[in-house]
Symmetry: C2
Subunit: 352 residues, 2 copies
């Protein structure tokens, strides 16, 4: 198979971790007789530095022409704490999501038995946790009208959702639940927000099409509690953009393997795969960042974007092997030898 | 001193736990020579049942005439999962907050050494946790314009903040930080929301008036993670209404003493004190609910609303004594004898 992949390394540790994923993908392609055609493009602060735009048109064209996008991370401290900065790396992310129509962010949270004791939570609370949060990614308060009034002394943001936007996301949620534990939790704030009431009403109307799926409706504040108390009680969760932003991050620290969690964003025009961690500017250029989340995102890409299950499994297997063999970066090494980012990448590519 | 207190038991276990707080307050009043004048009024589902309104005008008058309000909990399952219900108990809560001008919800999270092992988090993560979240309570998306368009197929909610609303809340935050660890964290989503940028800009402009306070600005998604990872790194946090709703609930499960956490809501016209737990309809009428959060809310009331520190300390001391003596309800009893709600209340009143 010929695989056209857009490669967006981004900022900070992005380029380093993406490099390792490329090595692993190339090794898998060789083993399974595929041909990968990588096309690199700029995003985030590095794109602003190069051409004043965090998601340049040229990058968009590369993504549109590709079968899938592999993404690192973006963000640079020089843009933080400046509420008046007019161009921000994050704008690139939002523009990219919107222009590529990436409406569903798929965020799994699962545990690696060997890493469970890294979690801030007690072992018995997290054992067996295997949940997926589907976050709506191109609607809500992220993309509504916003602005100032009264000489800048009043600010407003608008959260808007249409029934179609909700249906499209919920459909993915129901279908995903059917392939797993058949439980779907719709997270909203229907006791206060009109947009949440539309979410609840729309999902309720879809229940009859998936009679095998057990659906629950929970308020976002209650979920923020239960995720810490009983993460292993959830299967698939669906929610709107802002709630999803908060809950996916909360969920990510639960497993103790935050540096290993992959994600996918499914879209109208293409789909994008990225580690959930950020650009960690403090670690950039030091060859110490953990590349596994990006490598596992590449596994999701093989499976979801190309339907190549065996290839995805091969990647997951070699990752597990590296963990068992202690070929890990300093964040996971404890008192044992810590390997460099590039050493881990090489080992994975050689052992695939 | 003469203390006029409005008593709003509410729904579910509200009346039972409030009864115990009344016993304790009366015992404290007797000991310190105060006279408490309690005036009871209806709220929530019980008010809807009685007069079709979750926060009737008559209740509002009682609150306005009082020096402080002691509140139980509201909510009834018969109003849940019905997105089209036109009168909901929660509307009473929102109306009450707005009409009483309760703009600042004060939510402490602290640990009881004897209960620390009840936490889902590991002991070393939570030891020393002592944080307060100040949640703005009468603005933001809770009170903005909302509605439907396109034949009901589009729903919207508006989040609005004015500089004055932010200043008023932030001022409390700075002042509180000055009496404690001198650290203030402003939680927002300034990389996306215009209202958050106004928050950040307004708080930044106030920094110079409190040179001793170290201020940090963190995104709500990052805070949702760090609260689980390093809760003891926070001192005072300030945030807008919806973020506060989610984060205060998340914080509440961290200490392992959720059933014991009190809260205050400071207002323009009066202030209100309530346990953070809900109305637990499943436990209502069984005399098994833990009354300590309400009793500790009464302690906050003595200290904050009346400036009666010694009285507040007396309440906190007798609560600690009851925990040490194992005079506790079933949620804390483990394999030891569980006392009834009313027995715990009697013991506290007798031992004050
Ligand atoms: C950087 C920011 C705009 C972004 C978001 O809030 O969506 C990030 O937090 C994320 O979750 O990908
Ligand atoms: C019941 C609901 C409207 C309320 C809120 O969201 O403010 C509750 O969750 C709370 O935090 O007091």
């Amino acid at each position: 198979m010929k695989l056209n992949i857009a490669l967006l390394p981004g900022d900070g540790i992005g380029p380093e971790v993406v490099d390792q994923a490329v090595k692993v993908c190339d090794a898998v392609a060789k083993k399974f007789n595929h041909e990968i055609n990588w096309t690199k493009a700029l995003t985030g602060a590095s794109a602003i530095d190069a051409c004043g735009e965090p998601y340049p048109d040229s990058t968009h064209e590369v993504c549109m022409a590709a079968d899938a996008v592999l993404f690192g991370a973006i963000g640079d401290p020089k843009y933080d704490n400046d509420p008046k900065a007019t161009v921000r790396p994050e704008q690139g992310l939002l523009k990219m999501r919107q222009k590529l129509g990436l409406f569903a962010n798929v965020r799994p949270t699962f545990t690696f038995p060997s890493l469970i004791d890294n979690s801030p939570l007690k072992r018995e609370r997290i054992e067996g946790t295997d949940l997926i949060i589907l976050r709506e990614l191109t609607g809500g308060i992220y993309f509504g009208e916003r602005g100032r009034k009264d000489d800048g002394n009043t600010a407003f943001d608008t959260c808007t959702y249409t029934r179609e936007e909700i249906q499209r996301l919920a459909k993915l949620g129901f279908e995903l639940a059917m392939t797993r534990g058949k439980k779907l939790c719709c997270v909203d704030k229907a006791n206060v927000l009109e947009s949440s009431r539309l979410w609840r009403e729309t999902v309720q109307a879809m229940e009859k099409d998936y009679p095998e799926v057990t659906v629950s409706y929970e308020f976002v504040d209650a979920v923020a509690m239960r995720l810490v108390q009983w993460p292993n009680s959830y299967d698939v969760m669906i929610t709107e953009n802002l709630f999803g932003d908060i809950l996916t991050d909360e969920a990510s620290v639960i497993s103790g393997s935050m540096g290993l969690m992959p994600s996918a964003s499914k879209g109208v025009h293409t789909s994008l795969y990225e580690p959930i961690h950020g650009s960690y500017p403090q670690a950039a250029g030091k060859d110490i960042a953990n590349p596994l989340a990006t490598v596992l995102s590449a596994a999701m890409m093989f499976e979801d974007a190309f339907g190549l299950k065996e290839e995805a499994e091969a990647i997951r297997e070699v990752v597990n092997k590296s963990l068992a063999a202690g070929i890990v970066t300093e964040d996971l090494a404890g008192s044992n030898k810590a390997y460099k980012t590039s050493e881990v990448g090489n080992w994975l590519a050689e052992n695939i």
